[in-house]
Every structure is written in structure tokens, then in C-alpha cells.
């Protein structure tokens, strides 16, 4: 069966510090991978999606970036965090193909102070 991991679970960082959040998927190959952010008020916003290694699309302009160095690894980064980057970051995967059911990881809670 497929499993998706995210770490760390919780992170407190000062403004201006760098960020690296990691997501890995097990039990599938060539998945579509996604980063979502959920701010207070509970809406989910798509940040990045990837259909393959080094194939990443950004949905919103921001100071975040994403990379996919391996087939089942997706990394969210920032060189300098802003207060507005605080939130709940969720990684998700789906199979490629017609039925693209989305499966979410446990998430990382980021607080920027």
C-alpha cells in the first residue's frame, strides 16, 4: 500500500531564516506530487505541483520554491521566511491517469516569528 511521509511535523522559525520541508511517497512510482498550504480560516491553496522529476509548476507567486530531486521526493524551500509564510503545509500525491484521487500527508505546522 502507498504511504506518504512529511517532516518535520512542527517547525518554529525566525523571520528571514531558510526553510526546507520534505515529503516522500512509498509504494507507488511516478506519482503526481503537490504542495498545498492551509492558512487560518481553513482554505487550502495549491502552491506547486509536479508531474515528474524536475517538472514543477508554480500556482502562485511567492518566496517559496519546490524541487523534486527523486521520483518520490518533493521538497518545499525558502531562502528567507516571511511572517506570512506561517501555516499548515500539506504534501499530497495522486496517480497519473484518468482517476486522480488525491492523498494527503500528515502535514507540517510552520510558525514564523
Amino acid at each position: 500500500s502507498q504511504t506518504i511521509h512529511q517532516w518535520p511535523a512542527t517547525l518554529v522559525q525566525p523571520v528571514g531564516s531558510p526553510l526546507s520541508l520534505e515529503c516522500t511517497v512509498e509504494g507507488t512510482s511516478n506519482p503526481n506530487l503537490y504542495w498545498y498550504r492551509q492558512a487560518a480560516g481553513r482554505g487550502l491553496q495549491l502552491l506547486f505541483y509536479s508531474i515528474g522529476i524536475d517538472q514543477i509548476s508554480s500556482e502562485v507567486p511567492q518566496n517559496l520554491s519546490a524541487s523534486r530531486p527523486q521520483d518520490r521526493q518533493f521538497i518545499l524551500s525558502s531562502k528567507k521566511l516571511l511572517l506570512s509564510d506561517s501555516g499548515f503545509y500539506l504534501c499530497a500525491w495522486s496517480d497519473t491517469g484518468v482517476r486522480e484521487t488525491l492523498y494527503f500527508g500528515p502535514g507540517t505546522r510552520l510558525l514564523v516569528l
Binding site: 481553513r42 505541483y49 500539506l90 484521487t101 488525491l102 494527503f104 500528515p106
Partner: protein, 110 residues
């Protein structure tokens, strides 16, 4: 882009009651999913239902694509059903990218 509206935004139920959550969307979709987010933040996929009706235990969902809405039914609610229910849709050619509604926050009281 597609707009997704969910109603009601908040719902309080007594354990054992039934409820209906609604999702309206503004354009044609070929992907519609319902999710439950528990109080610890975990998002669980409930249904993949771009059209038709599906049932899974006490939960069922119906999507009427031609009228651009979907309904999630919860019967005999339990306290563990509490959390936020999201509807998410994807347009044709969106490669699985989903647009989420703002959710319905459900609280089931014992």
C-alpha cells in the same frame, strides 16, 4: 478559474442526527472529491465522485454535474465525524490540480 462554494460554513449536530453538505461549482469539472479533515489536521479522501452517486457506510455522495453541484450525506452522525469537510474540483485538463472550497465545519455533540 473555477469557483467552489460550500454550505453551510458551520454545522452543529446532536449525535445520531443526519446532515447534508452542499458544494456548488461554477464551471464544468471532470474531477470532484470530498475530504474530511480531522481535528488533528489529517485530510482523508472520502469520495472521488465527478458524477453519480456513491455510498460508503454512513456516508454517501451525489454529484449532478449538469447542474454543477454535489451533496455529501452523513447519516446517524457520531462524534468522530467532527471536523471540516472539503469539496475539491478539477477542470478538464487540470492534471489533477484541485480547487478547494472553504469547507463545512461539523461539530457533533454527544
Amino acid at each position: 478559474g473555477i469557483q467552489v462554494e460550500q454550505s453551510p460554513p458551520d454545522l452543529i449536530l446532536q449525535e445520531g442526527a443526519n446532515s447534508t453538505l452542499r458544494c456548488n461549482f461554477s464551471d464544468s469539472v471532470n474531477n470532484l472529491q470530498w475530504f474530511h479533515q480531522n481535528p488533528w489536521g489529517q485530510l482523508i479522501n472520502l469520495f472521488y465522485i465527478p458524477s453519480g452517486t456513491k455510498q460508503n457506510g454512513r456516508l454517501s455522495a451525489t454529484t449532478v454535474a449538469t447542474e454543477r453541484y454535489s451533496l455529501l450525506y452523513i447519516s446517524s452522525s457520531q462524534t468522530t465525524d467532527s471536523g471540516v469537510y472539503f469539496c475539491a474540483v478539477g477542470a478538464r485538463g487540470s492534471q489533477g490540480n484541485l480547487i478547494f472550497g472553504k469547507g463545512t465545519k461539523l461539530s457533533v455533540k454527544p
